[in-house]
Symmetry: C2
């Protein structure tokens, strides 16, 4: 089947630390000109959708706010499905913008939404969240990444703190970001494209490649960002293709469509 939509990861694929990767602006423009539907899927939990879009536009990408999908957007849907009104947001305060319409509370929430508080994850903060959960609040995790790169070395990401609360309260968090298959389907649904007609492009073997494939979407890994040559030895996850960088994507799609 022909490719009708492309889902793109941001950090490590389009840009690195806010600087566009070589050829990435031109590649996104070429995909758009080719008539492909585009959606941008990020696991960022520290910026609202509007700020992510503004930042991308400053780098030269032609992107609308509505084309960007973050875990906060996915969490909104989960909270609505759960019938939750009172939400405690354990995430940077700026993220509140993406939870308009919910009652954001400090006590007795019906759900706790966890983003990356980084050094804000103190014993006291975690213990407070534990108290809310054992009092009945549902736990929604924006993602559950184990670690990330900070200042040039591997450091704790959000996932370990989600795991800590799951263990303490004997609950399982609803994890909404990548690699949750529902997150990829959410992005695609807004385009009206079926999974078999889409391709996800990312640098993270687990979150991007494994996640997309589990949603029935083919996945291409770029050899930029957090790509690691050891990814080639992974026992379970194998991308449908690898390309040196996003710059090679329009050519890869054209060759595939004509091949």
């Amino acid at each position: 089947m022909s490719i009708g939509a492309v889902l793109l990861d941001l950090e490590g694929v389009l840009h690195q630390d806010g600087v566009a990767l070589p050829g990435s602006v031109e590649a996104v423009a070429a995909l758009c000109v080719a008539g492909l539907g585009l959606r941008f899927l990020t696991n960022t939990t520290t910026r609202p959708r509007s700020a992510i879009a503004t930042r991308l536009r400053a780098m030269g990408f032609a992107v609308d706010d509505g084309e960007i999908f973050t875990p906060a957007l996915a969490a909104r849907g989960v909270l609505i499905d759960l019938g939750v009104a009172r939400v405690h947001l354990a995430a940077p305060p700026v993220l509140a913008e993406d939870f308009a319409g919910f009652s954001l509370v400090e006590t007795a929430p019906e759900a706790v939404v966890m983003g990356d508080l980084h050094t804000g994850f103190s014993w006291q903060r975690l213990d407070g969240l534990f108290g809310m959960i054992i009092d009945g609040a549902r736990l929604v995790a924006l993602h559950k990444n184990r670690y990330c790169r900070r200042e040039g070395r591997l450091a704790l990401d959000l996932g370990p703190f989600v795991a800590a609360l799951e263990y303490a309260a004997e609950v399982e968090a609803e994890v909404v970001g990548k690699p949750s298959p529902a997150f990829f389907r959410l992005g695609l649904a807004s385009l009206g494209v079926e999974p078999v007609a889409a391709v996800m492009v990312g640098d993270d073997l687990i979150a991007d490649i494994g996640g997309a494939q589990s949603a029935g979407i083919r996945a291409v890994q770029v050899e930029t960002g957090k790509y690691d040559p050891r990814d080639r030895d992974h026992p379970r996850i194998e991308p449908d293709a690898r390309i040196p960088s996003i710059a090679a994507l329009p050519g890869w799609i054209a060759a595939r469509e004509n091949g």
Copy 2:
């Protein structure tokens, strides 16, 4: 088979917050007079063996340091088995006393030993431990209790922070305290008594009762301390007997021996 040894939990069984429970001093004395071997098994990670013994003697219990078994004692054995010399102690500094003979280091350890740092578990502290583990240090957890009672309410215990690091670094900690069967065997071995000839007495259904039974030791639950009437509905763990308090133990043993 006749009972030759009794393993006793401390907090919630012999005393509560440092105050001997009614009849507990007399009960321990009666067990001793009856010729039973006694060992005291606690999951405390915040006091060394010597301080625990001193505290018990101040409450009126006739106990020698060598009769007390703590997770730190069990950890020593594990570290020796692993051939580890350089240890990073992520526990209250006073616990260093129980690790005499090891080189206690702040960088590049061969093993990280985790006790309960309580509010000392900051993002920075946990991230530092994460760095040691991904650099190759083994993770030894003094216990993995989910929560405990602090100031009258449930609060995070050590376990959630062990779970966080296990998840972050994709490792499994060596958990040495209760309910690890090896911990109960360690206490018994020092008496030269077989599991079938021993009885463990505790208030915690998981750590004391389930742990002892998994080591082949019969277990009696007291209805003091953290005993909860809902323990009677547990789907898997059922003590061999329940008694109102430690004060009833000499009578229970005598009735059993004569019955």
